[in-house]
Subunit: 239 residues, 2 copies
DNA sequence: TCCTGTCAATTGGACAGACCAATTTTCGCG
DNA sequence: CGCGAAAATTGGTCTGTCCAATTGACAGGA
């Protein structure tokens, strides 16, 4: 069938002139035709060279200025910004990046700590049984030397569901899904090991105790401690 | 000598119209006046509303588009991009029934307390000035006997933005948008009055003090106290 | 000679009006 | 009731014009 081919179709977005021009100029800057600090031709001149009107050229220049590539000085001219340090990439294209790992982490800390507090007060026997079972599976996986990451997700999502708050549980589910994306695999692989898996078991065991005791404060405290420790491990520049 | 004063001189950069307009529209988007997915007025209309020419407005729109805030569809209109920040992480819509007020409240408590903590550590002078200005507007509104609910939203959304966490700030924006819906008006009307408005001023003033002092712990504590008090007012069955 | 104020040229900033093209909406026909 | 053509709406682009800021040449005075 042709279904496979059809699936590859992309939505055609009519390229507006200003985008084409901006890309052209970006290329010229990248390949060194326009050196940082250099002055571009005057707007009227450049527009004629490119065969477009001055407003369209201006729109392209505005886009490039917003992207941080160029700089215009009234009454003087348009210049390629000189402070384009080598590593700086221009966000003109491919700017659809999701939230970074730190943002995800901070958000998860916020919602999971709150969810733990609520869950301690609201979880029923079934919830507790499911969490206990998940913890047991984790132990089995670790004993077999397997990474329990997937079971971690199940545990925390179930914990969120038990909070009986659809917003928080939905957010937790979504944040863990983001966390599973391959992009952050490398970051995790650096700090995760069988030892950290065992520490995770201890933490979740204590958390479960707090739930059994129906102690919201203790549950939140356990979760906060967990995130504080994880945060130091992942994001502290000490090592 | 006047050397000390001279040292404070800043290079004046004439703000071009498109920059001013872009900033205006950006604040309208960020404080929730223009909801993600919403359609902006037509270019001709918007230009007239702002008292500028269409080319200038178009330059502002192109800047916002380059910045990834809006999206234009030829022959249709200009739309606020729907995939901003935590709009996807906190799935509030698409369910048969929206989340109830208690769910909203618990979620807001979670994200706003976390955001306050981060903001205390990350807010810059501009953020603090904006929050101070918002608080001043609140005082004016209350003095005139007007309900400051809209300014409340602006204050808290700005506070969230200053946390520099797109997920949290997006969630706060969404949750406050939800709160503004007419469905919960009655609930609020029962417990809100000029006296509670004044209490809100005091709370936000103390919160601002914590931000000025760059004290994350104090900022979080103020926010938690606020939510605890509001929670008792709204949801306690005592009365 | 050197400084200084002035004036003209250059350049970007902004506006008005018009026309084209894509999209959506409306409405009449089958 | 469904469907296709016409009309209205909306963004895309162009032409032309005028204004404001900057620059640089130039003449005049210390």
């Amino acid at each position: 069938m042709a279904h496979d081919a059809l699936r590859r179709l992309k939505v055609v977005r009519p390229k507006r002139i200003y985008e084409q021009i901006a890309e052209q100029i970006e290329t010229l800057v990248r390949d060194g035709t326009f050196v940082p600090g250099a002055r571009l031709p005057a707007e009227r001149e450049l527009a004629e060279m490119l065969g477009i009107s001055r407003p369209s050229l201006r729109e392209a220049l505005i886009a490039l200025e917003t992207a941080g590539l160029i700089e215009t000085r009234i009454g003087d001219g348009t210049y390629v910004r000189a402070d384009l340090g080598g590593g700086r990439v221009f966000p003109l294209s491919g700017r659809d990046m999701g939230p970074g790992p730190l943002e995800q982490f901070e958000a998860r800390r916020a919602v999971e700590c709150a969810a733990a507090e609520l869950t301690a007060a609201r979880a029923d026997a079934e919830d507790r049984a499911a969490l206990t079972a998940s913890l047991a599976r984790m132990r089995t996986l670790i004993a077999a030397g397997t990474n329990p990451a997937d079971e971690h997700r199940i545990f925390h999502v179930r914990l969120g569901d038990a909070s009986r708050n659809g917003i928080l549980s939905g957010a937790i589910r979504e944040l863990w899904r983001l966390r599973q994306e391959p992009m952050w695999d490398l970051l995790r692989r650096k700090v995760e090991n069988p030892e950290s898996w065992h520490a995770g078991i201890h933490f979740r065991s204590r958390l479960l105790d707090a739930l059994e005791a129906r102690d919201p404060t203790a549950a939140r405290r356990e979760m906060e401690t967990h995130f504080d420790r994880a945060g130091r491990t992942y994001f502290d520049p000490k090592e």
